[in-house]
Symmetry: C2
Subunit: 419 residues, 2 copies
């Protein structure tokens, strides 16, 4: 994309009322636009990061037989009354509104009941199971306060997956495969080293559920980790029984601030019983479906990445999710040559943000850093006499001259190394 | 996809309260799930059609320099009060709700004001123009009645594009290119022959705006067309002056029922003036931005296609937007061979819905027709003795034997012919 066609400008300052570092950075760099507290729009730069994250999640969910669908924001009270979760006393984040005839409707803050209601129509026999479905959906949560930028929004994008299994063994097998899939997701997002599968309270049906917690100063959670052993527990289950079971002592655990980027939960048959979601087994008996739910906060993850992978110059995107791989800038008036280079690079499938503005080189370089584009390529009269360009990685200070004819290959190599 | 992994079953009957043919068909075939009147979820089959339509629209919007972004559903009253459109008396389709502190918020039924508010922050100079932005976004409209299935929803997906131009000449040039882009969209969706660029009232700034109207019995509009001359007008502008200008007489016009699948509108500088959306021109003078808006109802188009391209057996998707290209079925127990064929076809990039259920061939064939998959491939012991498969197009009755080794090529050829 040409900068001249990108309406957003970088900004020196974020709005005065914006206290979250992730949103400050993302606003200054032109990725998000703040509509109100906890409600953010995504510019052409921001949506590319969102879509890149979604695509990584999508590929890993598809790899474990997940089928994508899309539910609705508007919810009927009847869907939620059976489990007691329509009540504002039980769920205090509902946004509710009403149809013209006065009938109340809600905006989905979750889709558990909604998906089960739909699946009930289609699942009758053990032959119809297992089923794994997921969606990327906007959730609405009427948070009392919303001061964490895109890490906790009133309107945000979440991937939620639901598993319907015939028995607890099958459920457990899928549950384990989802843990592996989630690990791959966070690895690909560049969060692998700092993200821990964290033991949490399991509710009625299992001893533990699992949270995926990423070390992050701006996080709202505290967990206890042993990095060497790769063990993490949250406060709910920090007790002698758990520690013994996991083979770790209190002294070996380090307390860290974290943000929950994903969670997986075994409902057992509790919710199926509440909603009468059943099937007929091979012997003709009625059985309840074993349910699991598996969430990843897509925009929250983007916020966590913005918090963690940034420096005093701005954002630092991993090439897997960067909006563009290359920031192309010039020194001097050599538009013909740079237009040609831009065509060549994009022709090779490299995503380029081409700063074709009439601006000072220093301003272009500052924007390249602030936006966190992995590689900056500079073409100038000086580099052209060498038939070369100057390349700098966002995470390094040194620049390097690379021959024009080799540049596509060089970038492709660099990306492949970073994965 | 294997049918066994697709949780939806086809149904003999749609819900009793569903009166729209498009929704009846889409529900019976397992593409949509009705949450309430005007609110539909999209199953793994349905979302594939939605995404295929979106991708065609996206490609054509990108081709005219459109940049994708994503705004928010939640809207502040302040955004809309300046133009008078927060009032329920002016806009009677608002869903409104409130934050915990009592502050009222609305659900976006349009994003005109919201986008302008954002663009204002970034556009200051003539150098910042032109800009063309679009989004695929869920719109919420509190319709009094909602009886047209997915053709008029309370929650639906729309592509809306906005152009910001420096003057009326530049605006007009983009407006014309958007007409051409829209024609390509409807051509690729298989609606080209029945979709008319229809002259409509232009409002304050131009004589005409343009609607894209598709002939459809279930449509809510009536237009007057001359198919030979490719001219269409709506009732608002059906008068002698218009007809003379267009070079057509009343007698040459045919009245047809249509559904509006797209519309484009020139705001001139009216809305910019209302919202003080201005820039400094080359001479340092303040000027108002020339605005246009360009909509395509993505899910509405899907409904129109379901209405129009269907027969007594079910849906009939154009291969450009079909959820799968091939419905693969078997007669007899030859699962090993059909598994191999399934792998081969998908390996060639052909999208296959593989009916691996233990079901009668007649039921499989009926589902293939009901779902409207363009090509049905049947493998049986009989066809295997010829090393071949039986192929049937959804739009033809005759079947054809095709050698197993040629089948991928045969399907690819067929698809290329249909475009």
């Amino acid at each position: 994309m040409r900068r001249s066609q990108l309406f957003v400008k970088t900004q020196k300052n974020a709005p005065a009322d914006e206290v979250a570092k992730n949103a400050q950075l993302l606003i200054k760099a032109g990725f998000v636009y703040k509509v109100m507290a906890g409600v953010y729009a995504y510019t052409p730069l921001g949506i590319r990061v969102v879509e890149n994250i979604k695509q990584i999640v999508r590929e890993e969910m598809n790899a474990i037989a997940g089928k994508e669908l899309i539910m609705t924001a508007l919810q009927r009270p009847e869907t939620w009354k059976g489990t007691g979760r329509w009540s504002d006393d039980v769920v205090d984040v509902w946004f509710k509104t009403s149809l013209k005839d006065g009938k109340e409707v809600g905006l989905a803050w979750s889709h558990e009941e909604a998906i089960i209601e739909m699946m009930k129509q289609h699942i009758a026999s053990y032959k119809d199971l297992p089923q794994y479905v997921y969606q990327f959906q906007t959730k609405f949560r009427n948070e009392l306060r919303s001061k964490s930028g895109i890490m906790r929004g009133r309107e945000f994008i979440m991937k939620d997956m639901y598993s319907c299994s015939i028995n607890s063994d099958d459920h457990e097998a899928f549950y384990q495969s989802s843990i592996e899939a989630y690990k791959k997701v966070f690895e690909r997002l560049g969060l692998g080293d700092d993200t821990f599968v964290t033991f949490a309270d399991g509710g009625a049906f299992t001893k533990f559920s699992h949270e995926f917690q990423t070390i992050c100063d701006a996080g709202e959670d505290v967990i206890y980790v042993n990095r060497e052993k790769g063990i993490a527990v949250n406060e709910e289950v920090l007790n002698d029984t758990t520690l013994e079971q996991l083979g770790v002592t209190r002294g070996e655990l380090e307390m860290v601030k974290t943000a929950e980027v994903g969670n997986i939960f075994n409902f057992g048959t509790q919710k199926s019983e509440e909603m009468d979601f059943s099937f007929t087994d091979a012997e003709g008996r009625k059985q309840f479906v074993h349910l699991g739910s598996y969430g990843i906060g897509v925009t929250r993850v983007m916020g966590v990445i913005a918090e963690k992978m940034s420096d005093d110059k701005g954002l630092v995107w991993h090439s897997n999710i960067a909006p563009y791989t290359v920031y192309l800038a010039t020194i001097g008036d050599i538009s013909e040559q740079v237009d040609k280079l831009y065509s060549e690079l994009t022709g090779q499938g490299i995503e380029v943000l081409y700063d074709d503005r009439d601006a000072r080189p220093g301003d272009k370089f500052a924007d390249a850093d602030l936006m966190g584009i992995p590689y900056r390529i500079v073409l100038s009269e000086r580099t052209m006499t060498d038939n070369s360009v100057e390349v700098k990685s966002r995470t390094e200070d040194k620049t390097q001259l690379v021959a024009l004819k080799d540049i596509s290959h060089y970038i492709a190599e660099k990306i492949s190394e970073s994965n």
